[in-house]
């Protein structure tokens, strides 16, 4: 119980706003994109705006006018097109022993190119109206992981290379981008146009880089000699990481950067089209450990002095660094600049009737392995202050996903919402991929 409450508290109290994908939050359907349609009215009693469609006429409520807005948000999602939820649980949550059955479960699902990604965020966000513009600011914590890998790469890691004696393990594709950063941002949002039906927004964020791990490769393979006398790595690759002796949730600062978010939407009483470009920026990392290669590199053992000249036989630990250096791949420590994994969201909303709104969109994250994620949502208003948003999606790091968003407002100022992606995990963890959830607390005045 203690763990559950602390976990919930953590989600609610850490970090910065996930308002970067603000239209993806369930609470949006009770706030910025609230369905304002009301039931068909008697034409003699109509007041205010009305809309009609296919012979039906609805009145439109006044849009909520607010001066300020405050939100606390946390989310964590992981998805893959091959790695199962059972594996993810054993690897990431319960730290279990990963047995051969669990490994084979993954192998059976592998494609030519496999991907997995996770994104954990938490934050604080605030917005205040000044004149006809809204000024916003917030703090954000993010832990982003993505990987694209081959079946052989997984097998090398989890089975070892002994099974590849005399063979070449194909490591193509092999890409990884793990990022931990914290940011402080400010922005403005303004309605424009004659009818003020368009909104433009922009933010600038100042980023503190915490941890970086990056692998890029091309045509990479590993040959293991049949007698194990040598290993040959072929291909082109770059490995870069910040070197921390211990893993920390908030690592020491290893770099700084900036990014910008851009937002545009156009709407009327029933429709809205939004376009959002997020995390367009970079981080300049300090003292990044890098290994680079383009060619063929052979490791044939660590040379030691013979015991007759030194009087001792010492075999020191053989690890990745010693192997790479023995192959002639020298470590360099230098400052590097990397672009952030930017995201493009395009979404369309339509309020069909006072009870139902539909939304569809596509999301693309510019990182290796990510495929465009298309989704469809149906926001059903159980009451005007209580909405559930079932979602069907396909793509991103995973395949098909079923999700559910829930949002409820209280006392016209508070909104609680959550977005759940547990159904596949609960239904068939060994056969499905993708899980996560978000929580948000918002207050407007």
């Amino acid at each position: 119980m203690k763990k559950i409450s602390s976990l919930i508290l953590a989600f609610l109290c850490i970090g910065s706003v996930f308002a970067q994908v603000e239209f993806d939050r369930p609470e949006a359907f009770l706030f910025e994109r609230k369905n304002l349609l009301r039931t068909r009215i008697d034409s003699l009693n109509s007041e205010g705006d009305t809309v009609s469609t296919k012979g039906k006429q609805f009145s439109v409520d006044q849009k909520t006018d607010y001066t300020g807005y405050f939100s606390v948000y946390g989310s964590a999602f992981v998805n893959s097109n091959s790695i199962t939820n059972a594996f993810i649980k054993a690897y990431s949550y319960t730290y279990s022993y990963i047995d051969d059955n669990l490994k084979q479960q993954q192998v059976d699902r592998f494609k030519s190119s496999n991907r997995i990604g996770s994104d954990s965020k938490a934050g604080l966000y605030g917005q205040y109206k000044v004149g006809n513009i809204r000024i916003e600011a917030g703090l954000n914590y993010r832990n982003f992981n993505s990987a694209q890998f081959s079946a052989d790469a997984f097998k090398l890691v989890f089975y070892g290379n002994s099974m590849y004696a005399g063979q070449t393990a194909s490591l193509t594709p092999l890409n990884m981008y793990n990022l931990n950063n914290q940011s402080l941002y400010v922005g403005v949002k303004k309605n424009i146009g004659k009818k003020e039906n368009m909104t433009l927004g922009a933010r600038v964020a100042f980023i503190r880089g915490g941890r970086l791990q990056k692998i890029n490769s091309k045509n990479l393979s590993l040959y293991t000699a049949s007698d194990g006398s040598y290993l040959t790595l072929n291909g082109k690759f770059n490995i870069a990481y910040t070197d921390d002796s211990t893993y920390a949730t908030i690592p020491p600062m290893h770099g700084a950067g900036m990014s910008t978010d851009l937002f545009y939407s156009v709407r009327d009483d029933r429709n809205e089209l939004t376009v959002e470009l997020l995390d367009l920026g970079f981080i300049r990392w300090n003292d990044v450990v890098t290994y680079s290669g383009d060619g063929s590199y052979t490791y044939s053992g660590i040379a030691i002095d013979n015991i007759f000249t030194t009087g001792s036989l010492t075999i020191n630990p053989v690890n990745l660094s010693t192997i790479l250096e023995n192959m002639g791949i020298n470590k360099e420590v230098k400052d590097m600049t990397y672009m952030l994994p930017a995201t493009l969201n395009i979404a369309y909303y339509r309020h069909l009737n006072p009870k139902l709104s539909l939304s569809g969109g596509v999301r693309q994250q510019f990182v290796a392995g990510y495929v465009p994620r298309v989704y469809a949502k149906a926001a059903y208003y159980i009451k005007k202050d209580f909405v559930i948003v079932p979602t069907l999606a396909y793509g991103g790091f995973g395949r098909a996903d079923v999700e559910l968003g829930i949002s409820k407002s209280f006392a016209d100022h508070i909104i609680l919402s959550t977005h759940l992606q547990w159904f596949e995990y609960l239904a068939a963890p060994a056969k499905t991929s993708g899980q996560g959830m978000s929580l948000a607390f918002s207050y407007y005045f």
Partner: protein, 702 residues
């Protein structure tokens, strides 16, 4: 309805949260992998196996073991010690001289007249009156005139003197106008009273001078003397009396040497001696010259002289670029009735010392000169021929940098001694046959002395097996000449002489037992041909410091051999960290060997704990095969690859990690083909690589 929805949502949230809070099994997820990879590799060449020796390649790149040990040394300090007896000399003042002095005393006519008046002689008044009147006076002549005493002061030259030699010349110049028919005068010493001299002059005409010489030897003279006219007879004549006319009495002392005097002494040498000094303790060594490498001349001086004595010590036989060896010293005056002392040190290094004596015919001898001198000070001092300088001159800690002459004959026993031979350290064999071996004793003679050497015994020992083999054959008890070095332009050119111990001997059998020690015993004779007198009269032997005679035992063993069960053993510390980290579970290992030696190899590795007890072992069941050789050239044409498998369980690894401290590595070699000698070339090597097929538990926490 709404409440039902809320309850459902809460259940979902709680169920989801519980998912995060699932109990963790470990600190990190774990899984087993099987890793096949090479771990370590190394290479063993002949240069790694053979220790403590030089390995060289001949023109064919074949390996030759070369070992050199110094077994004997003979140096200049062994030959010669420069010991000179202290030169003691008590030197009395050999002479004391005084300057010649001249004193003039004027006795006027007026003075004589007054003397006559005082004596009641009326002639005196007549002379005075005549003088006043200035008129001619018929002088009738006067007899028995006396005058004095008239004081003569010579104290500014000496206060007193006991004369050893000297003369006084008394001159009388007649300044009177009449002939002095007779003049007798005397000189008397006041203190001590005594007659110095009395002289009679006759018939001194006016204006004439007569002189008489008085020998003063043995007389004592004070600073004041009295002159007396004991009798003077003046002739007659008509004269114009001038009372200022006078007799001029001149006293001149000359050639004065004293036995003692209180006087103002002129500058003079008081000591001047040249003597020979002979070096001692040289036995039959006869040196004609030497260059002093280090040394000090010290003078200890005692003086009774009342005056400062400056003395100069010279060794004319000792020269450097600045001239002869010389030092000046000042001995302070002695206190009254006392003795003064002074010590002087002078660096003697760098001098070439001629040891042939003053006449150049001697040896081991140099001459020196001592000169003592007093300076003119203008002050009265008391000196006596009894005063002395007591001088002791000592040559301290003298060592030569070069000697020349006849360096004597010496017979020295060499040994019994031993030399460690480490080339076969950790090596043993059941059977070993070197095709050949060469053993020499090489004399590097940097001394200009001929010599001879005899090897009485030479034995090889293997302390591990207890075997020993003594050298026998021609080289034993045979005299071998050792030629002398040359010198040219101040440089020595050493000469090498060899004693060949290989020809006509069993030297190969000494080395076949793989010795770790060689003992030796012999004799060394310097100047062997010239023994008893008349010695070598050419005196051409020489020796330089720093250039000695050394003898070396040289061994050369071409590595062409037949070996059976040649065992190489080494014990080393053992540390396998790599198995302690990384979750090692178990492993199959292969020791991949590429054998470039034409010898089969079997390996045994025994792992010992800190108490020396065996805890595990690895034994190759089959041999690592010899490399293939070309029968025509005898060279390896292709290494042979072999694999030695072994397994290691987690328990075994844990035992090795926890308790393993030492590794005893044993390799057994057998040359192939058997009974055919093979040659080891410089490029032969065994390359080995340890490959592991290892089960690893990832994130084991170890």
């Amino acid at each position: 309805m709404q409440k039902s929805y809320i309850k459902f949502i809460l259940i979902l949230i709680i169920a989801s949260a519980m998912h995060f809070s699932c109990k963790r099994e470990f600190e990190k997820p774990r899984w087993n992998t099987q890793v096949l990879a090479p771990l370590v590799k190394s290479k063993l060449t002949i240069r790694d196996i053979i220790a403590d020796s030089s390995i060289v390649s001949d023109q064919n790149n074949a390996i030759v073991l070369v070992n050199r040990q110094q077994i004997f040394e003979y140096s200049i300090d062994s030959l010669v010690a420069l010991n000179a007896p202290p030169y003691k000399k008590t030197v009395k003042l050999s002479s004391l001289v005084l300057d010649d002095q001249e004193i003039t005393q004027r006795i006027s006519l007026g003075t004589i007249a007054k003397q006559l008046i005082a004596q009641g002689n009326p002639l005196g008044a007549q002379i005075i009156l005549a003088g006043k009147l200035g008129i001619p006076l018929a002088f009738p002549g006067a007899n028995d005139i006396t005058a004095g005493p008239i004081n003569v002061d010579i104290s500014k030259f000496f206060v007193s003197a006991n004369l050893l030699t000297g003369q006084m010349i008394v001159s009388v110049n007649n300044g009177l106008p009449l002939t002095i028919n007779n003049l007798t005068f005397s000189l008397n010493n006041i203190t001590p009273p005594g007659l110095i001299t009395t002289q009679t002059f006759t018939n001194i005409v006016p204006g004439a001078t007569q002189s008489k010489t008085q020998d003063l030897a043995g007389k004592s003279i004070g600073g004041n003397i009295n002159a007396n006219i004991d009798d003077m007879d003046i002739g007659s004549g008509v004269i114009v009396v001038d009372t200022s006319d006078a007799l001029l009495l001149t006293l001149k002392v000359q050639n004065i040497s004293v036995t003692e005097a209180t006087a103002i002494f002129p500058a003079q040498d008081v000591v001047n001696e040249t003597t020979d000094v002979e070096l001692t303790g040289l036995d039959n060594v006869r040196l004609t010259s030497t260059i002093i490498r280090q040394g000090t001349v010290r003078a200890d001086v005692y003086s009774t002289a009342d005056d400062t004595v400056r003395f100069t010590y010279e060794i004319p036989a000792a020269t450097n670029e600045n001239g002869i060896f010389k030092f000046d010293a000042v001995v302070p005056p002695a206190p009254v009735n006392g003795t003064s002392y002074a010590q002087f040190n002078s660096d003697f290094s760098g001098y070439l010392l001629d040891l042939t004596g003053q006449d150049g015919t001697k040896y081991n001898t140099f001459y020196n000169t001592l000169v003592g001198r007093i300076n003119y000070t203008g002050k009265l001092v008391t000196l006596s021929l009894n005063d002395s300088l007591d001088i002791t001159l000592t040559l301290l800690d003298a060592k030569p940098s070069y000697v020349k002459g006849y360096l004597g004959q010496d017979t020295i026993s060499v040994g019994p001694g031993s030399a460690d031979f480490g080339a076969f350290k950790n090596v043993s064999a059941s059977s070993l046959q070197f095709e050949s071996a060469k053993m020499d004793i090489v004399f590097e003679n940097g001394l200009g002395i001929p010599a001879k050497a005899v090897v009485n015994e030479l034995t090889a020992y293997n302390s591990m097996t207890g075997e020993s083999v003594a050298l026998s054959g021609t080289p034993i008890n045979k005299e071998y000449p050792i030629e002398p070095a040359f010198e040219s332009g101040g440089r020595v050119i050493p000469v090498l002489s060899h004693i060949d111990l290989s020809t006509g001997s069993n030297v190969a059998s000494l080395l076949n037992i793989l010795p770790d020690k060689i003992t030796y015993k012999g004799l060394f004779d310097s100047n062997p041909k010239v023994s008893l007198p008349p010695y070598d009269t050419t005196y051409n032997d020489f020796a330089y410091a720093g250039t000695d005679m050394k003898a070396y035992l040289d061994i050369e063993i071409p590595l062409t051999l037949i070996a059976s069960n040649l065992v190489l053993t080494d014990t080393s510390d053992f540390d396998i960290n790599t198995l302690q980290t990384g979750g090692f579970q178990d492993g199959k290992f292969n020791l991949l060997v590429s054998n470039g030696f034409p010898m089969d190899v079997k390996i045994v590795m025994r792992f010992l704990d800190k108490n020396g007890l065996q805890i595990d072992s690895l034994i190759t069941t089959s041999a690592i095969l010899a490399a293939t050789i070309d029968n025509a050239t005898g060279k390896v044409i292709e290494p042979k690859a072999s694999a030695v498998p072994f397994t290691l369980s987690a328990a075994q690894a844990n035992t090795l990690i926890q308790n393993g401290a030492k590794l005893v590595f044993t390799a057994r070699f057998d040359t192939k083909p058997a009974n055919q000698k093979i040659t080891i070339y410089d490029n032969y090597a065994i390359e080995y690589k340890l490959v592991g097929d290892i089960g690893i538990l990832v994130n084991s926490g170890k």
